[in-house]
Symmetry: C2
Subunit: 241 residues, 2 copies
């Protein structure tokens, strides 16, 4: 009954389009639409709600990242009853890699819902961040079990090829350097800038090939930023060749 009232009510509201887009993506109607609006709000367009705190998707991304990891951990635990924790850990980190999440986000069409001031080209991690934030929003809106069901039925079953993930290489930096040596290109990883201070400090890494910046990524851990940037560079190279 409540659901019917909501369906009658929503088409008159300003959030109508988002509401129906989410119904298609999620398989259910959102209850607290404000959570989902926040999940798609990049910090470049967010407002300060208190000193130093914006109504952007970053807190939801933090939450969604943890929930996603837990759900994937359980899924793999069940799927591979005779594999050890080293294998499971490795599989999980491949499944939730920045690149994987960026691709999933685009497959689901989340990139069309993101509210941002950035140019998309150098910032595809915005897509993966929004995916994680969406997981955070679903979890707060509907709870753990619905989130688990969504990930299992709408993500893993449709979009994940476990065999391909299992054989996938993940040291993207080494892979890029190998490619460069083979193809006679010069590749450099450069710290373009550092954002923030103390525990908030993030490294922005440029991948420079033959003097040209072709990919960029940021992370609190420099090595991770390098991996993300190398992963993006490899995707560009693969899609152009």
């Amino acid at each position: 009954m409540a659901a019917i009232i909501k369906q009658l009510f929503i088409p008159f509201s300003a959030d109508k389009k988002l509401y129906y887009s989410l119904r298609n993506i999620l398989g259910f109607y959102p209850t607290n639409i404000a959570l989902y609006k926040q999940a798609f709000r990049h910090s470049s367009v967010a407002h300060e709600i208190k000193e130093g705190v914006k109504d952007s998707n970053e807190r939801l991304e933090y939450l969604g990242d943890a929930i996603l990891s837990a759900i994937i951990a359980h899924h793999l635990f069940t799927l591979f009853p005779f594999k050890d924790e080293g294998f499971l850990t490795k599989m999980r980190s491949k499944l939730v890699s920045r690149m994987q999440l960026n691709q999933l986000s685009v497959k689901l069409g989340l990139n069309k819902l993101i509210d941002s001031n950035l140019e998309a080209s150098y910032n595809s991690s915005v897509n993966g961040d929004a995916f994680e934030a969406l997981i955070g929003a679903i979890y707060l809106d509907k709870g753990y079990n619905t989130t688990y069901h969504f990930i299992r039925t709408r993500i893993i079953q449709y979009h994940i090829d476990m065999d391909a993930v299992e054989t996938k290489e993940t040291d993207f930096k080494s892979k890029l350097i190998e490619w460069a040596q083979k193809e006679k290109h010069e590749v450099k990883f450069v710290v373009a800038t550092e954002l923030g201070t103390g525990y908030q400090k993030q490294f922005v890494i440029d991948v420079v090939i033959d003097g040209e910046v072709i990919a960029k990524a940021q992370h609190y851990v420099k090595k991770k930023a390098e991996q993300y940037a190398a992963e993006q560079a490899l995707l560009l190279i693969t899609s152009n060749s």
Copy 2:
């Protein structure tokens, strides 16, 4: 009714003692006692159930680690509505640090339930591992919400001082080096050995003070093994001074 039958039945079984110990620790009766027995079974006493796979607590530890992280992430998200994701990430890593989990495990009395062939002194991480494995067992036995309730009411409310955690220093290696310089001791971090190969490779790090090994820890990431070992060394130094 089912619960009453179970209570009448269990005292005759061989698992009686574990059953009642768990009732006291958890606040509820376990349903699948086999999960909890596995959670307390260190790999040193486990049996091979299939080639390369033991009935030890390591898979449950992997699962419990992820579930614990998700629950702590949500708890902090709610507790600190105006803190950014950098703060929340830092707080979480302090709350689920190896040292914190080892201490919690002993406070709950889990160390008395662990089945292991190891000498306890150099291997206190066995306690923290069992704590994580217990979380994995609760999750599989009772689901996410019961696990959340257990962590909130039996762990955080009783055993965690959030203010103390917030101000806690976490770079243990730097702290130990500072202490050594001040107190005129020589401190070294030595790779004692490497276990396994490929993605399963773990580093065993010794903390050597004035030529004597006083702490030991292992991890897939060398820097983390150093941090764990330094954390243990600092605890020994503090408790002896």
